[in-house]
Amino acid sequence: MKQSTRERVIRAIVAGLMNSDLTTRELREATDELARNPSFSFDLTMSLNEFLERLSNNVYSKRIPSRLGGRSSKSGPESMELNFLHNLIQRRRLSKKEIFEIMGSISPNFKFSGPYTASVREILEEFFHIATRDEFTRFMQKLQGTSETDDPYLRGIIRKGL
């Protein structure tokens, strides 16, 4: 890996951790684990690899017009991505109305089949059951505020590492 890339990666990881909702104590524990526990580094690497694998493969590239096995299918999106998005939604304190608005702006034909009392997780599962890879990516960008027009501060932080 080039030195400049290495430095960018380190900056991005540290910036991501500093901007997370992890407490200082948790961050220090994580630092200790990384320094002393090889299995923690291994788990971290495997999780990252798995996540990148799912983003790059064709799991979300096909639109399935009808759901398999009914609403809230247990064979829906992998729990790690769902947890990640669920956490994002909780951190941003989005209401269901706002979530539906974002989904509607990305996929105008999407209409949630369940009741309004359904959980956020159930809504996310149904959306990703039918979303294409592009729609998935744009939804994640909207939640993170990482689209180019959304957050100039975040854009500057990311570019600082370039």
């Binding site: 380190i10 540290v14 500093m18 407490t23 100039p152 501060y153 854009r155 500057g156 600082k160």
Partner: protein, 290 residues
């Protein structure tokens, strides 16, 4: 001689930065007794997350200042220091830059008053990460000298301090006359006060440390929550509690790039929020003698 006030709580999410930016802004914009003049205020953003800087500066202005190294990092280390997360660069030069070289005007002075800010930078984390097992005396000396000059220029200096126990909290507390401890109605809030008091005492030099002031934040508009009542009910803490508390108003949330502050807000209940902030600021300025 200016007074130095740190805003700090080791517990996260209590609205430390919200308190810092709003009280600093009010103190600079409006007249206060006994002089009935505005205060000349400096806000030092001393947190690598630089949220206070984001509140007052638009992104273009901020990144320009950061590129020019007009940030709190320059107080601590030399301009040409190579930032390394594993090794803290101890400055060879114990003299910090002049305040005028680092401070950026946010609200210009009009006969009196005015707010300047020294923004922070994510790069400050290199100081936080690399401080272990390194001689930090030169950094502490630079910070002290800088604050000493600030006292001769400003009426009041607010320091929005990184919440973790670190070199930042040490240097900030050792050079402060007062510390405002924002407390939100949360579980463990009471224990958090105890920890803060012990921590402040441990950082005191000689017999005198900064005077603590407990400010209840995110309080309900009507009534008092159990956590606040419990703290106010303890004699060892009651004497430090401000009478006024900062209420939960949307008008206080998330100002950014200089916009969205309560003094220009059209959000619901912004008039009431303004009056609430005015009362808190007046009491605080009186307590700290500014």
């Amino acid at each position: 001689m200016g007074v130095v006030v740190t805003i700090m709580n080791m517990k996260g999410g209590v609205g430390k930065t919200t308190v810092a930016v709003h009280v600093a802004g009010m103190a600079a914009r409006y007249p206060w007794p006994p002089s009935n003049g505005r205060r000349k205020v400096l806000l030092i953003d001393y947190d690598p997350q630089f949220n206070a800087s984001q509140a007052f500066l638009d992104p273009a202005a901020y990144f320009k200042l950061e590129k020019e190294r007009k940030t709190t990092l320059a107080i601590l280390i030399d301009d040409d220091a190579v930032l390394d997360p594993y090794k803290l660069q101890v400055p060879g030069n114990h003299t910090p830059p002049k305040v005028s070289e680092l401070a950026t005007s946010v609200y210009p002075s009009r006969r009196d008053g005015g707010l300047d800010i020294i923004p922070s930078t994510l790069d400050l984390m290199y100081v936080a990460l690399g401080q272990a097992n390194v001689q930090t005396k030169p950094i502490e000396e630079r910070f002290k000298k800088f604050i000493d000059e600030c006292r001769s220029v400003y009426d009041v200096i607010f320091i929005d301090c990184h919440p973790a126990g670190s070199l930042f909290t040490k240097t900030s507390l050792r050079n402060s006359d007062h510390v405002i401890i924002p407390v939100a109605p949360q579980r463990y809030a009471v224990r958090g006060i105890g920890l803060m008091m012990n921590f402040i005492e441990s950082k005191a030099t000689g017999t005198k440390g900064p005077q603590p002031h407990i400010l209840f934040n995110q309080s309900p508009r009507i009534g008092m929550l159990a956590e606040e009542a419990e703290i106010r009910g303890k004699p060892e803490y009651a004497k430090y509690c401000l009478t006024n508390s900062l209420k939960w108003y949307r008008a206080f949330s998330d100002p950014e790039g200089g916009a969205g502050f309560v003094w220009v807000s059209g959000k619901p209940y912004s008039d009431q929020a303004f009056q609430n902030l005015h009362a808190v600021t007046q009491e605080l300025l009186k307590k700290v003698g500014a």
